[in-house]
């Protein structure tokens, strides 16, 4: 019987973080302007998901840990 789901939760979240699609440059209608990064509707909804917010917190903490490890 599974009594400690921590490892599985951590693993699943790490996998979800790895599989996150990157932002694509979407060219706007302006002819002369540089292409700007545009958030799609799905991306906006994605940020509202608790799992995405958790992933961002974990990313921040992991970066801090890396800083500590590397001195």
């Amino acid at each position: 019987m599974l009594t400690n789901p921590t490892a599985i939760m951590h693993q699943n979240l790490s996998m979800a973080m790895k599989n996150t699609p990157e932002e694509k440059e979407v060219s706007k209608n302006t002819l002369m302007g540089p292409p700007k990064k545009q958030m799609t509707k799905a991306k906006e909804d994605d940020i509202l998901q608790p799992s995405r917010r958790i992933a961002s917190y974990i990313d921040t903490i992991q970066k801090k840990r890396e800083e500590i490890k590397n001195g």
Partner: protein, 168 residues
Amino acid sequence: MADIMMQPPLDAPIPGHSLTKELGSRPWQQPAQYTTVEDALDYYIPRLESEEVTEQLLDVLEMGIPVTTVANTMQLGSVMEGKHSVDVGMLILPVLVELIMLIADSAKVEYTSGLEKDKKMRGSLVDLAVSKFNEEKGMKQDLPISEVDDEPLKVTASSSSGLMSRSI
């Protein structure tokens, strides 16, 4: 380990034990105090940062208790106290693990994360299947060639006709 698993669970509650108290008398039967992930983390982070808790935490980690066990115990205790729901507890588990590891790293304490690739730790069926496949693959590679494929493959002619057609 196997002996422990084989022992009958004599300390388990008897069926219906949860119904012996009035509904709502337990903290976890009340609405949770912190309903969002952010609220729950705001509850945990100052506690983890406090000197008293940090010292105890580092002692526990130095004893060799995995970080995952500590994190799970913390969130389970808070669920029982009615601080947050089980769902919020599951969501914040990875953050708690990372936070505890951050504290241990900053204190330069060696610890067991509990996230190592281990058959007993991984409940994921995919992981188990992959490790099993790798094991079998490794076993096949170890065998001498003569034992693996002694007989050449026989090509059998399969009838392309249907079930109801006349046999030729």
